[in-house]
């Protein structure tokens, strides 16, 4: 079925937005073409979740103007607490406005780029042209990627030059505190050959409700022998309709590791795909989720193997309470020629209430003989014998459940490299499962 959607933004709106940001003509054209395509393109089809009636297209305003932060002292308390005292490499966005950026002097001199996406489009056009929605996510994939390209209104660009290893993590914080705001937000991360970087992002609502849409795309490029560790904690407010697509492309001997804490209170469709293009490339993806209220979510995690001897690991742990429902699709795909590839996945869902729904759906698609693959999936309640064991040490039932749940979600919490963010995720989990 083709759904014709009348879009609230016209070509003229898109052209004038582009002009107001002094975007090069090529980028304006990309937006205009994507907008035209978005009308007719279908929505994505996340397996087992019907999203035909979800509102991804109607939002109060395209862009809101927000203040910048002259110093970190001006940050809201909630945001302050996730910035470690020694955090040198930091980008903060306030709704759609680039609000703060800092980058270690040494790194600047060595050619590292950390900037808002609009500046990148203007000043680093060649890199943007090479990587922005060309390979990992394409504008013409479906309606939401097309809308994303057409309506892009924020984001961050990080470039790490050849053979440079950045020791301290780079952090991006996207603060949402305006109910009217929508996020067509893009993170573009390029780790050139032999480089290493750890990036951690936070999507954080400091208001309880949202009226807009969140259409978020991240693209990660790990060139030959590069290594990218990508951590995220998403805490977007109820009311958003959220589409979040995080994808990585790993070349020869490259490594991409994801640690995603998906704690939105909004209905959310998530696509996390790693393309293991090069031989010996590694993709390791860990996702934890808590669903509550009447939230509906779908998490599709894919690792697609092209490279020989490539290794893909998927771990997903979800906790569902109240009447929340979630689908966890895990896809390990091994293409013909990817000999000695290894695709492993584990999906586990813990149900905390009889009305909650969770579905772990492991899929292996293998087009090559000489490979190894495995999957494990389970959906169940907290193990009564685990509770018995903990309670037999004097721990109350409530505290025992808390320990088991935190333990269950620990795989992501433990690998987040920024203390403040680790603590934040722990507290969000605490708040959501209570």
């Amino acid at each position: 079925m083709t759904v014709e959607t009348k879009l609230t933004m016209t070509e003229q709106d898109v052209r004038s937005f582009s002009a107001s940001h002094s975007e090069p003509e090529a980028f304006t054209n990309l937006r205009v073409q994507a907008l035209a395509a978005a009308e007719a393109l279908p929505l994505p089809k996340p397996d087992k979740t019907k999203i035909i009636n979800w509102n991804f297209t109607d939002f109060p305003v395209h862009t809101v103007e927000s203040s910048t932060y002259a110093s970190l002292d001006e940050l809201p308390e909630q945001v302050k607490s996730i910035v470690d005292a020694d955090q040198k490499n930091l980008y903060i966005q306030h709704n759609n406005t680039p609000a703060y950026v800092s980058l270690d002097k040494n790194l600047q001199q060595q050619g590292v780029i950390l900037t808002d996406i609009q500046t990148a489009i203007r000043e680093h056009g060649d890199l943007v042209a090479k990587y922005f929605m060309t390979e990992a996510v394409k504008a013409e994939e479906h309606k939401l990627t097309a809308l994303h390209a057409a309506l892009l209104n924020g984001g961050m660009f990080l470039y790490v030059p050849k053979n440079l290893a950045i020791k301290n993590p780079v952090q991006a914080i996207f603060v949402h505190d305006n109910e009217e705001a929508s996020l067509f937000n893009h993170a573009l991360i390029v780790a050139d050959k032999g480089s290493e970087v750890t990036y951690v992002e936070n999507y954080i609502s400091t208001v309880p409700k949202a009226k807009g849409v969140a259409n978020i795309v991240s693209e990660v490029f790990a060139e030959d022998n590069a290594s990218v560790t990508y951590g995220a904690v998403d805490v977007l407010a109820e009311g958003f309709t959220t589409y979040v697509n995080r994808r990585g492309v790993a070349q020869r001997d490259a490594r991409i590791e994801w640690a995603l804490g998906m704690m939105n209170d909004s209905d959310t469709i998530s696509d996390n795909t790693t393309f293991l293009i090069g031989d010996n490339s590694v993709g390791d993806t860990k996702t934890v989720v808590v669903g509550r209220g009447t939230q509906k979510q779908n998490f599709t995690t894919q690792v697609i193997h092209w490279g020989k001897n490539s290794d893909g690991q998927i771990l997903k742990h979800g906790v569902m309470k109240d009447s929340a429902s979630s689908i966890f699709n895990g896809i390990g795909k091994i293409e013909h020629g990817a000999t000695k590839a290894n695709a492993e996945q584990e999906s586990r869902v813990l149900m905390l209430s009889p009305k909650a729904r969770g579905d772990a759906n492991p899929i292996l698609l293998i087009d090559e003989d000489d490979v190894t693959a495995g999957h494990a999936a389970s959906v169940g309640r907290v193990d009564p014998l685990q509770l018995y064991y903990l309670m037999s040490r004097g721990i109350t039932k409530q505290e025992a459940e808390r320990l088991v749940i935190h333990g269950f979600l620990a795989p992501v919490v433990n690998v987040l490299p920024i203390e403040g963010v680790k603590k934040q995720l722990t507290e969000v989990i605490e708040r959501k499962v209570r």
């Binding site: 009564p384 018995y388 903990l390 037999s392 040490r393 721990i395 320990l403």
Partner: protein, 259 residues
């Protein structure tokens, strides 16, 4: 002095009667051993004392200093002073051994009066040394990937940290080599004193070479069929269980058989 009194205890699991009237009284400063062949109800007794969800007490009482233990939830029993070193402890991923033990200790304390981190670490280090445990086991996830012997030591470590009034040790010696048996026994012996009573469940006399019980009980067919002093354990070691069966006219000692 505290007293744990088990009277006429009848226990079923999934409709099958296992214990058929067990009577034992344990005081602090005493060590009791329950011996007997496999399948006679020893572990069921241990689980029933702690309140395992699958075991149903159908008759009889357990009282701790006059308090009705059977009316308590599992965690209340623990905070009242009971401890069970389990034969098959659960593995809990993502929860470190150290965090778990601190939670257990703090569960016994008022809010605001939690055990200090330094004091906790010092105590944990010293007890782990007694039990010849690797220091890194404190930071490993609770029982996850532990060998059989490591799990047993970890149970005893918890007992030493929590310091219960009464500990029930369910086959703490099974699967331990002689060196491990010695360190585990050393841990239990360190607990001995006027504020501690212990019920050791075993089917080997071996453990009792290192821990001298004050009372020895033999279980068969879901009951205590014979009680005595430490000499009873030696006699069992030398002569096995057959003489008891002959004496009492028991043909098959396992549960479900009647004399």
């Amino acid at each position: 002095m505290s007293t744990l009194v088990i009277k006429d205890l009848h226990v079923e699991i999934e409709g099958k009667q296992i214990l058929k009237g067990v009577n034992i009284t344990i005081n602090t400063s005493e060590i009791h051993a329950i011996m007997g062949p496999n399948g006679t109800g020893k572990s069921t007794l241990a689980s029933a004392i702690m309140g395992h969800p699958k075991y149903e007490v159908t008759q009889g009482t357990i009282e701790l200093d006059g308090e009705d233990v059977l009316a308590m939830e599992v965690d209340e029993r623990a905070r009242a002073g009971l401890f069970l070193a389990m034969q098959y402890p659960s593995e809990i991923s993502g929860v470190t051994n150290a965090d778990f033990m601190r939670s257990a200790m703090n569960a016994r304390r008022e809010e605001g009066n939690e055990v200090s981190l330094m004091k906790f670490i010092r105590e944990l280090d010293s007890k782990m040394e007694t039990l010849a445990m690797d220091q890194d086991m404190a930071q490993r996830y609770l029982n996850e990937g532990f060998s059989g012997g490591e799990k047993k030591r970890n149970e005893i470590l918890q007992m030493m940290m929590i310091k219960p009034t009464f500990a029930v040790l369910d086959e703490i010696d099974s699967g331990l080599d002689i060196d491990a048996l010695k360190v585990v026994s050393e841990g239990i012996n360190q607990m001995k004193g006027e504020n501690f009573g212990c019920l050791i469940i075993t089917h080997y006399q071996r453990l009792l070479n290192y821990i001298t019980p004050d009372h020895v009980h033999v279980m068969m067919q879901g009951r205590v069929v014979k009680s005595g002093g430490p000499e009873l354990a030696h006699k069992l070691e030398a002569e096995g269980y057959d003489w008891i069966k002959t004496e009492l006219g028991i043909e098959d000692e396992t549960v479900g058989q009647e004399a």
